[in-house]
Symmetry: C2
């Protein structure tokens, strides 16, 4: 059964956490909103799940995933669904909930990353909230990045299983997401990360291990991997990284 991913075309955004899982598992999937409208796909196909009040279970916002009869929204919830099916999460309930908990904490971090450039309103341009953004980004770099990364580094170090994985003794979607977090923070805040990275040798190693996995490496080289840009969640505005 093909997986259908629905997410904004043109940005990595929250959809990227799903793409990385689908790519690592080498399953067949279609990135619907990036496909042509004339094939019944594209953005209109995505919007139909969001705006159509006739749908019993409508989606609040992308990303969401369709898999046969299943239609699932919220990034971490999608990964919860995929984790067991793609062998990217522990099988036992405790392990499953633990991986999900870490993913939800990553989701919180991602929301804070978004708010560094949009602290006042998503509806306003960055330029119209730049002064507040400078302040929020300042706090984020000084306190929030260390708070989150300290935590994830501690979780990694406290994992007693062999191997260098966030959860248990094998790769999970949490490792893939940590890769994406490191990539994104490096893109958005290169000066900050250059200083901070030495404090997180474990997380950097998780990142590096993911980057050279054959399927991920191939994906990153492909046209399916969208470049970071200033429409996404991780944005590079030099004035926010001073």
């Amino acid at each position: 059964m093909i997986f259908e991913l629905y997410y904004w075309p043109g940005i990595q955004g929250r959809g990227e956490f799903i793409r990385l899982a689908l790519e690592e598992a080498a399953v067949e999937y279609v990135d619907i909103a990036r496909m042509p409208k004339r094939g019944g796909m594209g953005i209109p196909a995505m919007m139909s799940f969001m705006e159509d009040s006739a749908t019993e279970r409508s989606m609040f916002t992308p990303p969401f995933l369709k898999h046969g009869e299943a239609l699932i929204g919220q990034t971490a919830n999608i990964l919860l669904y995929l984790g067991s099916r793609l062998r990217l999460a522990p099988k036992d309930e405790a392990g499953k909930l633990w991986a999900h908990q870490l993913q939800l904490t990553i989701a919180d971090l991602i929301t804070e990353v978004h708010d560094t450039h949009h602290p006042i309103a998503t509806n306003l341009y960055y330029e119209d909230q730049k002064a507040a953004a400078v302040k929020r980004a300042g706090d984020f770099k000084k306190y929030r990045i260390p708070k989150f990364l300290d935590y994830f580094e501690q979780v990694l170090n406290a994992n007693t299983r062999r191997g260098r994985y966030m959860v248990g003794g094998r790769l999970s979607y949490v490792d893939l997401s940590i890769f994406q977090v490191v990539e994104g923070l490096r893109y958005a805040f290169p000066r900050t990360m250059a200083k901070l990275e030495q404090n997180y040798p474990g997380l950097i190693a998780v990142h590096d291990d993911v980057a050279i996995r054959p399927r991920i490496a191939a994906y990153l080289q492909s046209e399916r991997r969208i470049d970071f840009n200033e429409d996404g969640i991780f944005r590079h505005y030099p004035e926010l990284d001073k």
Copy 2:
């Protein structure tokens, strides 16, 4: 097996979504951080799960729940765990994920509520970010409350099962959380809500149905229910509700 809830004493906050589920299910639970230190409880007991790097699975932030060997963090994740055990969620996987998805969207709303009074930094006092808070709250009231409540009202109306529930044909933790969202928004933004509520007859009915459930009604009258206050997530600052 007793449930141990760990959350900041003195505020409803995110812990309240868990308390409502435990109260409705009438299970035995201890609100650890509100208990005396000398019994080995209180805030130190809570902090020991967060700061102790010797713990294999440490918690990023409260609330978290201990239940026998299980230790679970992230509000929505805790409700996912409790849902099946307390009969407060559908049993089938699709229903379970759907309830969880709605709860995660409520969690997103709660984060935005928090940021109306702390748009720049949790580390700063409200007074030091009041100007930005007025702007963010303005956008929140005009665009974000309607966006979220329109969605939840639509979800409710699209539920084809009998009864007036957010998910399926019986009460779930999502209904309890909608109750809390309505209560909180009324507390924080009474003028705004007085105008908006007429647009959400379904959600208000869900709220009212929950409020008169015997166990919830008894809980709300008890000392276990902490009053809303200006240390919590829902805060009433008149200047943010003009």
